[in-house]
Amino acid sequence: MASRLATQALRELVSRWAILGALALLYLAAAILSPDAFLEPAYVGNVLRQAAPVAIAAIGTTLVMILGGVDLSIGAIISLSAVFCAVQMGGDAANVGPALAATLLLAAGLGAVNGMLNIASPGSSFILTLGSALAFYGLTQLYSGGTARGIVAPGFREFFNQRLGDVLPVLALAMLLIAAAMELVLRTTRFGRQIYLIGSNREAARLAGLPVGGVTFACYVISGLFAGLGGIAVLARSGVSSTFTGRGFEFDALAAIVLGGTVFSGGRGTIVGTVAGTLVLFIAFNLVNILGFNYNLQLVLKGAIIILASAAYAWLGRER
């Protein structure tokens, strides 16, 4: 009995810290395989900056996943946000503030649409957000006319890409700050606790009088909002605002979230895990490139990581 309890506690401990261990091991392997790159602080800063858009979007979607849902429309919201923001800026530095505010409002509005749909039909978020993703892509194409549109304001990219102490790009720092803030929200606020409770047992939470509908709505709005931030981050990183800027980001985000230990059935998960999961993904992508493999192997790698990670967590989590 005691040993079973100990085994269970050990599994719990392993599943909680597994992703940080995996990140450390992968980094070590990367440093050995390619010391010129991964031991260079500026290169590590680059990887952080490269991961920032996906990580920021994934942070918002983590809330939805803890709640027991999923949001596959973030790739479409990132695309629309990037195009919309570039058009609103119109190449004029004076427009940056209003453009950012309008973009975040739009992204949160799209998240609100997802929220209402998921309140109307709980338990089908996967299909619902696949459908809304299509609709949002349609909107993006209509808005952009199917090509790249809009001009980034001067100074906008320079601000986010400048390096603090010649190492850490501002964009990477922004990602870390956002992650820390959201981890705090999840750990210390009533809203955060409610998300975990609803994700663990929606029906019980409803019977206990928790505002299930309101929290669900808020989580999807936050997921949309963070996808909007992700879109702005993509724009800051690359300056390109084509129709399909964010296509496939939902894959990366979902892979990162599952890697980070957020379970698909809800009730468990952390922001730290999601950010670590994103970094594992991007270090792996960079390794694939550095080692000279075909770019398309990234897709295979991503799929394999999704499956292996969920198998590992399912194994660690059983008998609980």
């Binding site: 709980p122 996967f126 299909i127 194409q141 209509l142 799929g303």
Partner: protein
């Protein structure tokens, strides 16, 4: 479906079963009613719709999605889902055209080869769900990515040619009837009998309704799930053969979006995403309805952007309109791990 505990409960269960059956019949009748209504409206309002050639084209173009949707109906009925079908279809298109390269004598071996590959993919899915209790959604999302990566590692442009015989099956008519359409009708008939008239079909519905109860009642749940995933993969491969015949060449993006269309067709046709309820007749009606809508939008020369938007709206509306009542939502129940061999 489970063994009755008491006569009263048995009566209640039977009543619930009949209510479900009635609901299912109403929904598949509803989708066919909508199909007839939509076709009549389009015939009156849309110039060029109501010609024998165009209607034949709608059927021919719907056949591939029909085969994929039939397979998807089985997995969803079993309480699972298969998101990998689109990319498996794409892989089939590329492999069939690249390997046969227009040589008719190679069609049969290549077709058998890709069907075998499909069976392997389906078996792997079943094995991973049964042994490791991975969520089918996540699992097949992952394999979608792997299959896509496999396709594009192989080629990023169209390769090879489809043999003449395959093009004939996919595009031509026999005695005025589209061959692909006839193929779909025959497959649907077989699928209907398999679901309603065989022990496998009944056990599949019981598994989807409540995996744990089905297991206790002696249903070999793991084997049923294996059958469902293999059927889904075979449907995707068969659909891929038709798409290869239609396109005539191995286009790597051919399967993009098929998974969503197939799920929507199944759900619109009265198959419950919670598992346990399915209608083959409804799925076919929904596939034809989607085909009519796409055809009308094309005839009206609606822009591709608006078509994308409309499709998304239809998906969302379909899910909202066919959602289960609150009491029927049992998240997670259908995917509980099973211990039987």
């Amino acid at each position: 479906m489970a063994a009755p505990a008491a006569p009263g409960r048995h009566g209640a269960a039977l009543a619930a079963h009949r209510r479900h059956a009635a609901l299912r019949a109403a929904r598949s009748a509803g989708i066919w009613g909508l199909l007839v209504l939509g076709t009549m409206l389009a015939a009156v309002l849309v110039p060029g719709f109501a010609t024998a050639t165009n209607l034949g084209n709608v059927v021919t173009q719907s056949a591939a999605l029909g085969l994929v949707a039939l397979g998807q109906t089985f997995v969803i009925a079993a309480g699972l889902i298969d998101l990998s079908v689109g990319q498996l279809l794409g892989l089939t298109v590329v492999l069939t055209c690249a390997l046969s390269d227009g040589r008719g004598e190679l069609l049969l071996p290549v077709a058998l080869g890709v069907l075998a590959l499909g069976a392997v993919v389906g078996s792997l899915h079943a094995w991973l769900v049964n042994k490791l209790a991975i969520e089918p959604l996540i699992l097949t999302f992952g394999s979608l990515s792997i299959l896509q990566g496999a396709i594009f590692s192989y080629t990023d442009r169209s390769v090879g040619r489809a043999p003449e015989a395959l093009r004939w099956i996919a595009n031509e008519r026999l005695l005025g009837w589209p061959v692909a359409g006839a193929l779909l009708v025959l497959t649907a008939l077989g699928a209907h009998l398999l679901l309603r008239r065989t022990r496998f079909g009944l056990r599949l519905l019981a598994t989807g309704d409540d995996g744990e109860s089905a297991r206790r009642a002696g249903v070999p749940v793991a084997r049923i799930r294996w059958g469902a995933f293999v059927l889904s993969a075979l449907g995707a491969v068969a659909g891929g053969l038709l798409v290869a015949g239609r396109l005539g060449t191995g286009y790597p993006n051919a399967g993009q979006g098929f998974e969503l269309d197939a799920i929507v067709a199944a759900v619109l046709g009265g198959t419950s995403l919670a598992g346990g309820r399915a209608s083959i007749v409804g799925t076919i009606g929904a596939v034809l309805l989607l085909g009519v809508i796409a055809n009308v939008l094309n005839l009206l020369e609606v822009s591709a952007f608006v078509q994308t938007l409309a499709k998304g709206a239809i998906v969302v509306a379909a899910i909202i309109a066919t959602r289960a009542p609150r009491s029927q939502v049992r998240p997670g129940a259908a995917h509980a791990p099973v211990a039987d061999a």
